[in-house]
């Protein structure tokens, strides 16, 4: 093997120590060998540049994989997986938002209730005592609401005529309609009683039965 043959071996670091020393001595003494060595270096440089510039185009991979029929499936799978992940995250976000909203609402209600209770506790000593609610039903029954439990309202008691017990009532109308329709007829219509509960002013209008 001549020293010209050893050029590439030297560049590839394939020479032994002795061979390398001999090659370097020959390189120093021979102009032709130096010229070949320079050519080899230039050749390596060109090959490296050519290698870097020769690359497959970006559409090569999708084209080949589409020809093989595996890119579509993979794309669908990846899309489906992405959709599932997105849906899952969306559900989690919605759930979290709902929970957070509920917690905020509950806390607001609690704060409002506590505030209301505090105001009421502050105002309570000067507040009037709960009034007795009287309820008159047919001018005979009167209900007295216990003072200790002002909100405990007993259900209205009605006097039902014996006639109505055997059959279903014919019609149930509101007191306003009755008053408009039968005001001058002097029927046995009973006027509704109004019960005021506490300070809320709840009006209860019991149904009125109209006798034919």
């Amino acid at each position: 093997m001549t020293q010209h043959d050893n050029i590439s071996s030297y560049i590839d670091n394939e020479l032994s120590h002795e061979q390398e020393q001999d090659f370097l001595i020959s390189l120093a003494s021979s102009e032709a060998l130096r010229k070949s060595f320079r050519s080899e270096l230039v050749l390596k440089n060109i090959v490296h540049r050519d290698d870097a510039l020769t690359t497959p185009s970006r559409d090569m991979r999708p084209a080949v994989l589409a020809t093989l029929g595996i890119v579509t499936v993979a794309g669908v799978t990846e899309t489906a997986h992405g959709t599932a992940v997105a849906a899952k995250s969306s559900v989690l976000k919605t759930l979290f938002a709902t929970k957070l909203n509920a917690i905020i609402t509950a806390s607001l209600v609690s704060v409002s209730a506590i505030g209301g209770y505090a105001v009421r506790s502050y105002v309570a000593p000067s507040a009037p005592a709960p009034t007795t609610i009287e309820r008159q039903v047919n001018n005979n029954n009167s209900l007295q609401t216990p003072t200790s439990q002002p909100h405990d309202v007993q259900t209205p008691v009605e006097n039902i005529s014996p006639v109505s017990l055997g059959s279903a009532p014919d019609k149930v109308v509101s007191s306003k309609a009755v008053s408009k329709k039968h005001l001058g007829a002097q029927t046995t219509t009973q006027m509704p009683t109004i019960t005021n509960i506490g300070s809320g002013g709840v009006t209860v209008e019991p149904p009125i039965k109209i006798k034919p």
Partner: protein
């Protein structure tokens, strides 16, 4: 198990006239290529996974060997559009191995063996292109370099022209060595010959190319002076 390349190649393509037309699985077992990012074990595992139907493994192998195989096809064939078609045909052929029982130690050895035979078939079909070699026109190298067209040409183009005029075996040895980065033993496994033969072919190719590059450098130097 003996597996001939004509069994691997598509039926419409002829088996190559190359001295290594027969590939035995135990020959492929000995191939150990090092120019890819995948480790040998990983490469083998991926290929066997692909044979069992794992398309993701095939995509990984494609990504690992896309560039090296593309360069190989482009530099062997010179015609880039033809190289692209061949590149695609090679991957189609590799994909058709799915489901087969092929025992290989390295996927890259099988891949480049198939690629080599595809390239040989393509070169044989384009007879006018493959027939020219520097062996036939070795005395005209200086003439090639000193033509007016070459004076202004890029050195890269000059290299490609010089490569295309090398004999197939020298060209392939040079490309697998310098571009793909395989060792002589690995190239010998692909080419079906021994390491010394590959080394001699690569050396001859390098010497030819060095002559062309040296002539170009002399020309440039004389122009500057």
């Amino acid at each position: 198990m003996k597996k001939e390349l004509k069994d691997i190649l598509p039926s419409d393509q002829k088996a190559p006239k190359d001295p290594s037309p027969v590939v035995e699985s135990n020959e492929l077992d000995n191939i150990s290529l090092s120019a890819v990012s995948l480790t040998p074990d990983r490469e083998t595992q991926l290929f066997h996974n692909f044979l069992e139907g794992d398309d993701a493994a095939f995509r990984t192998l494609y990504d690992a060997f896309e560039r090296s195989l593309y360069i190989y096809c482009c530099r062997i064939l010179k015609n880039e559009s033809e190289a692209k078609d061949l590149f695609q045909d090679i991957w189609v052929r590799m994909y058709k191995m799915r489901g087969e029982r092929i025992q290989v130690r390295r996927f890259s050895g099988l891949l480049f063996t198939v690629a080599r035979n595809y390239c040989l078939n393509a070169l044989r079909d384009n007879k006018g292109y493959a027939a020219i070699s520097l062996d036939d026109i070795s005395d005209e190298t200086e003439i090639i370099v000193r033509t007016k067209d070459i004076e202004n040409a890029d050195l890269r183009e000059l290299l490609q022209r010089a490569l295309s005029q090398l004999p197939f075996n020298q060209r392939e040895s040079f490309i697998l060595r310098e571009y793909v980065g395989y060792s002589y033993d690995e190239i010998a496994e692909i080419m079906g010959t021994n390491s010394a033969n590959v080394r001699a072919r690569a050396h001859r190719a390098r010497e030819r190319l060095r002559t062309v590059v040296g002539a170009w450098m002399e020309l440039r130097t004389s122009e500057k002076e």
